[in-house]
Structures are given as structure tokens and as C-alpha cells.
Amino acid sequence: MSDSVIPEISINDVANPVEPFLRSDRIPHIWCPGCGIGTTVNSFARALIESKIDLQSLALVSGIGCTGRVAGYVKLDSFHTTHGRAIPFATGLKLANPKLNVVVYSGDGDLSAIGGNHLIHAARRNIDLKVICVNNLIYAMTGGQTAPTTPDDSITSTNPYGVFEPSFNLPHLVEAAGAVYVARWNTFHVRQLARSISEAFKKKGFSFIEVISPCPTLYQRRNKLGDGLDTMKYYKEKSKVRHGAPTSEVGLTMTGEIVVGKFVDRDRPDYQTLMRAKFAQSLGERFVEQAEMVCS
């Protein structure tokens, strides 16, 4: 049946732009309906396309948790490491092969609780890593326990009467520790997130992008905040874009305003630059640059 107005299009022409970045043999993935992690992966894939990053030299490292599963779904050299230790693993990768573009893709609990120490030291050292922290305000994979980012009064499985601990303001934390690029978006801001990730790829040094995401099964459900779609509508309604806002003022509450935007974009020499400079200065001729570590 032909139709002169609508051209017949071969199915093979019409490709999902994200598909080349996915391990399609493992999709559908395990994330819940309405979970935002997959949405962040779309933004990540778009950023890779836009910034024309050489995929061969890109490595992705994640920790444990729902966001940690990203490593298993992207078609890149990907490492699913131990809980909290994606950043030191990524540090080792980057130092052994400085040509790699190393992305750490992990969750709020993994990066700021058990991994907190490594987060602040990598930021302090300004290791050239791009950290995408999907913050769903909870420990999702293990069933909804309190995370350092869970806002006051939230109900979780380990705070069944409501969280009373103050929670982390992650942009503030990493800025204080020394990160050169700090941004926050949520899963509603798909294009802005992609743009931030592209910008981070252009930066040399420790870049941190926080993405607030729904966890409809645990965080939203336990706190009667609706489902994933309700949360996305809340993000749309209550987000305020304030580029350059002081990070001390961007703390989160359960239902309040969410300040998003690019908060920090500064320049500091990264770890490897400092290291080489120091050795060149102290050792002069005796300094031997690290050769390509190909030990085969």
C-alpha cells in the first residue's frame, strides 16, 4: 500500500538515538516504573552525543545501589564496584591511564554516606572525574532506609517515626571540599542536565552534578507524595533555576522549593597537573613522566 504523501520508511532507518549507548540485550532494566534513573541516562547519552566524546576512551564507574546499576546498562567500559568506593576505583583508573575520560555514576547513599570520605578527598585533590550523583533521597535498592540526604520528617524504614537528623546539602559539601564544577538538576530538567554533563566533560578537575530523582516505590510512597509522575510535576512546579546561587542556600526539604542550576564553575589545577609540576620542579631532569601503562 503506497501513499504519495507519507513516505514509506524502513524501520531500520528510525533508530533510538540512545540505543547505541545501551546494552540492549539487558533491557528492560530493573528500575521501577516512574524511577528517574533511566531518565538521567538519556541526558547522559545526549551529552555524549553533543560533546562528541570518544566512547572508546570513556570509562564509567559506579557503586552499589539502584543508580549503581547504570554501569551494567551502558555500552562502555564499565565497572560496577563496591559500595562507596566508585570514586577511589575511578581515581586509580584515571591515574593509570590519564587519557581516559572517567565518569562516576552513583547514588546519594553510595557517594555521600559510605563513600563520603572518598568524595571529599577526591574533590579536595581535584581528581579529574565527572561525578553524576543521582539523589533519590533514600537508600532505594535495600528497601528505603534513611540516607544522609533524606530530608527532615521523611518516613523511611529505619526512621519509621520520621527523620530527625539534619541532611547533607551535597552541592555545599563538594564545593567546600574543592570541586571545580557543581551543578544540580532534577529529572525534569532533561536538557539542562545533558548540557551540564557536556560542560563537565570540558572541565579539567572534579565535577559534581547532583540529579534529584523520584523513588516512587519507596521514598514517595512511604511519604505519600504520589508516584513518579506526581514527583516530576512537583519538580516542574517547585524548581527554581538560580545559576551561581550560594551553595549554602540550596538545602532540600521534603516538599519545598528545589534550587537547581550551575552553582560552581571555577578553575583549579587538577591533581595530575599539580603532581607533574611538583615532580618537574623537584626532580628536574630525573623526573620520568609516567609512560603508557600497557603491561602486556
Binding site: M1, D3, S4, V5, I6, P7, E8, I9, S10, I11, N12, D13, V14, A15, N16, P17, V18, E19, L22, S24, D25, I27, P28, H29, W31, C32, P33, G34, C35, G36, I37, G38, T39, V41, N42, S43, R46, T187, F188, V190, R191, A194, D227, G228, L229, M232, K233
Partner: protein
């Protein structure tokens, strides 16, 4: 492989076959329950700038694409995929601009839109 049904929605099921993706029509869904699939433009009708493709088996009916499509092209259908979710379908194909916001929002990589070039051209 060409579709037997002209129209602006390609309803696809991805069947896993080792590393290759094979595309097959999912006959159970291609029935008249699916409103809007078989739109055939008449002379003088506006021609859509974009085309939506839905990967039915991946959809978890979160509703993001329906809600955030700026042109309100989509709605959740009454059909089911094998997991029991209602995938979206196109109700206003002529309004699709091919912006692919649906694709960017979809957490399940289950939908995407591509820009369409007019008669005679292929598109990516």
C-alpha cells in the same frame, strides 16, 4: 523491513536475539483498539514534522511522555504489553514536532521521536 501499515506510529516490539535487535510487528496490538494508529492524511492536511516510535515491551506506563509532550501528542492506550502495562499511543500525530522530549524523559528507553523529512527523503 517495511511496515505494512502506513502511519505515524511505528509500534515495535524488540525481540532479544543475542546481540541483535529484531523488529517485529506485535499483531495483538495492531487492532482498531489502538486509536490514532492508522491515520492517513488527506490532501491539504498538515504533515507532521516528527514521528514517534514506541518500544512496547519496555514501557512501564510511568506517564512521563504523555504528560510532558509539549504538543500533547500521546495518551496511554488501553492495550497491554506482556507485563501488563499500558503503553502510550499517538492521538495527535499531526502535532508531533519530532522534538524527542518523550524520548528524553522516558526512563525505560521505550519511546523516541525522530524528525521526518517530507516525501522522498529518509530520516534519522
Amino acid at each position: 523491513m517495511k511496515t505494512r501499515f502506513p502511519g505515524h506510529v511505528r509500534v515495535l516490539t524488540y525481540v532479544r536475539d543475542s546481540c541483535h535487535i529484531q523488529l517485529r510487528h506485535h499483531k495483538a496490538i495492531m487492532t482498531s483498539r489502538f486509536r490514532g494508529v492508522f491515520y492517513r492524511p488527506e490532501r491539504g492536511d498538515p504533515v507532521a514534522k516528527g514521528r514517534v516510535s514506541v518500544v512496547v515491551e519496555r514501557c512501564k506506563a510511568c506517564g512521563f511522555c504523555v504528560e510532558f509532550c509539549p504538543s500533547h501528542v500521546l495518551a496511554l492506550s488501553s492495550a497491554f504489553n506482556s507485563k501488563g502495562y499500558h503503553p502510550p499511543h499517538v492521538v495527535h500525530p499531526e502535532k508531533c514536532s519530532g522534538c524527542d522530549l518523550c524520548g528524553m524523559f522516558c526512563p525505560d528507553f521505550a519511546i523516541y521521536a525522530t524528525k521526518v523529512t517530507p516525501a522522498g527523503g529518509g530520516n534519522k
